[in-house]
Symmetry: D2
Subunit: 395 residues, 4 copies
């Protein structure tokens, strides 16, 4: 079905910073490379500052703007609300949107607290009975190498999973003069490295293994306790003033844990790994093979097949650009790499297809809640001298 004849899907985006730009590019691009059963219409961009929102809408290609997200929910030309705001606003917007009959795509982490996340799941389950669907934006699942890793685990290529080893290393606040942006304030961001990037590796590890963490032991640290108050803040960069305020989130969080299927695991999220820019790394060792991934080489998956002859066994660097690889066939010939933004495009493609097919997109809000419960257990363990914390299995 081509773009023109397909039914329209009106999208309203809330937020236009880093994530807003990524989602805009995804909505703009998805139908150009993939056959979509619905034609996304970039209908409304919503933000509080009218002028800034208008400028962003023009830059990013949104037809109209709103300054109140509640107004967005009343519009008939919007069937899906895409939430790209800081975590403290997710619950209120998402619940209202679902109640208004709008599909919801919500950026991760699902919420800043487990309670908020639970309310969102309840709303999602209620809406689902009316055909209104929801998805949480763990975009890294849609990197071809990560999706291939999942497929190989499902196919049994690495056997029984024994070890999960995941880190997400960044370094953008190593400088103690980097200002106190919203991501460093607990009341806005919920947590620091843990919720921002730790959430990604928890989701990715559980997605790739098809298994879930059952308990953790954790510690966290804030290396730089005070920072200059920001003068102007936008996304990840900002300039600081001479006044200082307390950093109220973690700079780094580390934990060890166990999966339901018997694997042991280690996780680390930090913004203080000097020189590591976006080193989201996952290694999974199984009884029959191993997989390794590093987002800084996101077009590659390392795979060790333990059933090979020892003479020629070795970690293979699979360039995940073959037509048979997940998502890759829609793009360029083999060896022509994809980038960060493509993960969002793939997310939108899968979501639109689910909406048209009437199937539930994944990861669901319940999946997002479960990640939140893992993060909560990490926080509790870190607060309790690293004592073991069990993760609720109900979700």
């Amino acid at each position: 079905m081509t773009a023109g004849t397909a039914e329209r899907l009106g999208v309203g985006l809330v937020g236009y910073a880093f994530m807003g730009a990524a989602h805009s590019q995804a909505w703009r691009t998805a139908g150009r490379f993939f056959d979509l059963p619905l034609t996304p219409d970039m209908a409304v961009l919503c933000g509080r500052d009218a002028a800034a929102t208008a400028a962003a809408a023009e830059k990013m290609g949104w037809r109209t703007t709103e300054t109140d997200w509640k107004a967005l929910l009343r519009r008939d030309d919007v069937q899906l609300v895409d939430i790209c705001t800081p975590g403290d606003t997710h619950a209120e917007i998402a619940v209202a949107a679902l109640e208004a009959g709008k599909h919801v795509l919500c950026e991760k982490p699902l919420a800043n607290t487990v309670d908020e996340a639970r309310a969102m799941v309840a709303a999602a389950e209620k809406a689902q009975t009316k055909g209104v669907r929801s998805m949480v934006g763990f975009n890294y699942r849609r990197v071809p190498a990560v999706a291939l890793a999942r497929r190989l685990v499902e196919q049994g290529r690495i056997g029984q999973v024994r070890h999960v080893r995941a880190v997400y290393l960044q370094d953008w606040i190593v400088d103690p003069e980097f200002p106190l942006v919203w991501r460093l304030q607990a009341e806005r961001a919920g947590s620091g490295a843990l919720g921002d990037i730790g959430a990604h590796i928890v989701d990715m590890a559980q997605f790739v293994t098809g298994d879930r963490l059952t308990g953790v032991s954790a510690l966290s640290e804030t290396f730089v306790k005070e920072r200059p108050l920001p003068q102007a803040s936008s996304g990840l960069s900002a300039s600081g003033s001479s006044e200082r305020g307390p950093v109220t989130v973690d700079d780094a969080a580390l934990f060890i844990g166990r999966f339901g299927g018997g694997a042991v695991a280690s996780f680390e999220a930090t913004r203080f790994a000097t020189g590591r820019k976006n080193a989201l790394r996952l290694e999974v060792n199984g009884s029959a093979g191993s997989l390794a991934f590093d987002f800084e080489s996101m077009n590659e998956l390392s795979f060790y097949d333990g059933t090979e002859d020892p003479d020629t066994a070795g970690f293979r660097r699979i360039l995940t650009t073959e037509p048979t690889h997940p998502y890759a066939g829609a793009w360029w010939p083999p060896g022509h790499l994809l980038g960060y933004e493509h993960s969002f495009t793939h997310e939108v493609v899968d979501l639109v297809r689910d909406l048209a097919a009437g199937t539930d997109p994944t990861p669901s809000f319940a999946d997002g809640l479960q990640v939140q419960e893992v993060l909560d257990a990490v926080v509790r363990s870190a607060a309790a001298g690293s004592g073991w914390q069990t993760i609720s299995e109900e979700s």
Copy 2:
């Protein structure tokens, strides 16, 4: 200046296969991440098959279509013609477009023969006096790592260039049953691996070093002499029939050469390097340092600073995603990678800026001609038992 208030630049694209898709994505995206002084309007897509062209236009987002490129030249809403057809048609279209007062972006190689290329340069120079500009599409110059390599050479960071080592390795026709697509036919493609991918490494090596080849000694080979005739051909893939025809281009071309500034060089282009998907590699060794690049890791540049203390000297893996890196600041935070298509977006950004500023874009048609003359010398040397062939310096 925002998209809405900027003057419009009507674009007419000829061809909608692999390169057409890449250019379409570039025109669609450039203004969303970069501030452009002109607003690209994807006005017309031109192709010979009306139905296929219409479908492609809808898919790729072009407003209207034409089936005759001459009609395109008569349209007032087109200020720039973007040529993405096979090489045998470049000269005719480009010369006519320039004469019609249209700016031209022409895919590489500039032409299939030096004579054609010369005619194009003459037309470009004549048009330039009237403010009509032209550019040849060596997109790899706009990969951030490659642009950074050029900058470091310019800054003297590697000193005097001694060695240039460039290969472009692919493997998509290793299978002898892969059919005889147009890229394997001399009358359409001009040459094989040499013109298709060898042209890229010649341009890149000369661009990065800021120097030019003065002579070469070459050999070429066609490993598979006959292939199944194609039943349907589109871009790089096709299915074959039972009838066979002769492969009339090179499968691989190798040459050694000398640069004007004293460096010695080695080049190789092949489609028979099993397992190498798009290994466009360049290494430059200078008296004070070295640079290395591999497109299969396109977000990285390797740099060795020979002035460092031996204790800590080593090739650095620079992840070229910092705000200070060429083009990178317009996209995502550090460590969030770019892909193949971004090189085209950057090409369009630079071109649009030049058009608005009234400056000449690079690489020029003359640059394209000079690359063609290098390829011509390679062909002559290979035909003459690898004897040394001097490259004309006039261009």
Copy 3:
């Protein structure tokens, strides 16, 4: 001073399996590449089985043999006892040797229990007052890349240490039919992966950072609970019988911890990381830079200098074969790699020089005890539901 004129150092080696062979090669080679102030004399090889010991002595180049290590201590031609037996025998032999006035080089782990290790330290301290010296064999400290890492930290090149990340991954018992060799029996080996390879990363991390762990939270796992009883066991390989016995050591141990200087840390030791053969990896992130090492590429050190211009900052692959690198100048020209056994040769070189100079070799028995106390805290934490365990600072 040449080999011939230097005073003789009679060496008696106890044990002739894997470690015995490595030490033999070290004693044989040290004086051939380094100027030694004492000439090692490979005087006696000691083992319980007379015939096997005689064969090993001839193979490995030891002049004479003994079957009782107590006899070894009575020999006047032995000034140094080199202990390469399983951990359960270290304490008894080392204490007796020190009391007999023999210098002692003892393989790691120093002992199987903290109590044994304390007794050894006491004996070492008493002997030291009489000029009798002791050293524990953490050979990886003497890999040039590791010694260079230590030097760079000491020079302040990475600033204040924030993160330590260490894993030691092997896969030699992934097969559940691999037999129950002594290394899998608690009464012989003390612990499993933890003591065997975890000890190495604890020592290396503390050595490189110049800091010590103050507390840990841990878990451990035995994936394969029963294995075939070995029919013949030697070193790491063996063939199994049809009878099975319980594996009484850990297959894997993971822990997180804190260093005295404020760094947070994560450690993992496992023999179940399919495809990882000897991946002893350490990464240290500091406020001004980072270091990374992987023994599977043991001639390389990765170094990121955070003070560099972002344009050219990146992890450098330092090939640690320059004349200025630790130990490297004694061997081959740059780029000619060293191997595993060289770390033992360097250990012997440093030890012999200390003996001649009358200085205390490092790591000392006290250093070995402190590592043992870390391992003990890991065991305690794992046994106590991952609760935090403080590491005694007295040692």
Copy 4:
């Protein structure tokens, strides 16, 4: 058979610089890890300077010394002469030694000229009829990864060879003040980078493919034409005086060529590749797979199996330390790396086994002559404007 009961093989080594040290370590070590049918006896070290030779003999462990290599040939306790002198002396010593009934191991390049090499082959063939054997020291054949590459080609794992790509990159004379050591003087060294390191890649490429070059087109360059005369020269390092002399060898040589079996090839040898310390690299692309090797990661072989499912196909990093890998089983457990010197140990092991078995060692002098003929063709082509030069097939 153990060392003590095996028949003795008296070895006389001529030369004690870089190669002499490497061979000494090989003779000393071979029997300690491999079962040898003859026991090497390091009988005599031969050098012109009596005092320096005596010091070297003591350091390296040779029993006695001679200052005249002719005296060496008269000694009954010498059965094998190992020639580690500069290339201009190889022919005279080797021919005389063979005529004296001594087995000969001669370092590469076999000789400085084809004529000398022919004389050596003639002497070797004559001696061979009397059971006197000879070998040329292309030690890199005995790196496990290289031997494994050969095995995989023989097994047909990469199919028909299409491409050979070999470089040997060093940088030790990038500094124009590096003095004019013997390796930079044509009358001593024969040629520069070509004979010193180019010889290695020619031999390695032919060994791995099991095929031979039939013709080449070449160029060479001397970047630094004059250098300080050395004040004291030893091996690769030296200090310079204020007087200068002409460099009479090539700094770099590049050539393209064809193999008998249809492959095309590219070779480059240089000492001006800043930052590359010992980058001996070989890539071979075949119709069914590819192999790649880099000596700077000498324990690894990259292998691409083109018959794999595209989903999981990728270059494998084989760590060549498995018991099944060539030579590796005699050393350490998997993942414990070998170094440069081990290649010489393996060379000696194979040679000793051939001598005991009465079989001809490889590479033979005839193999060395053939490499010399390739180098000669390169020199001729470079001198003749890169014109094609056929390589004689008689050898």
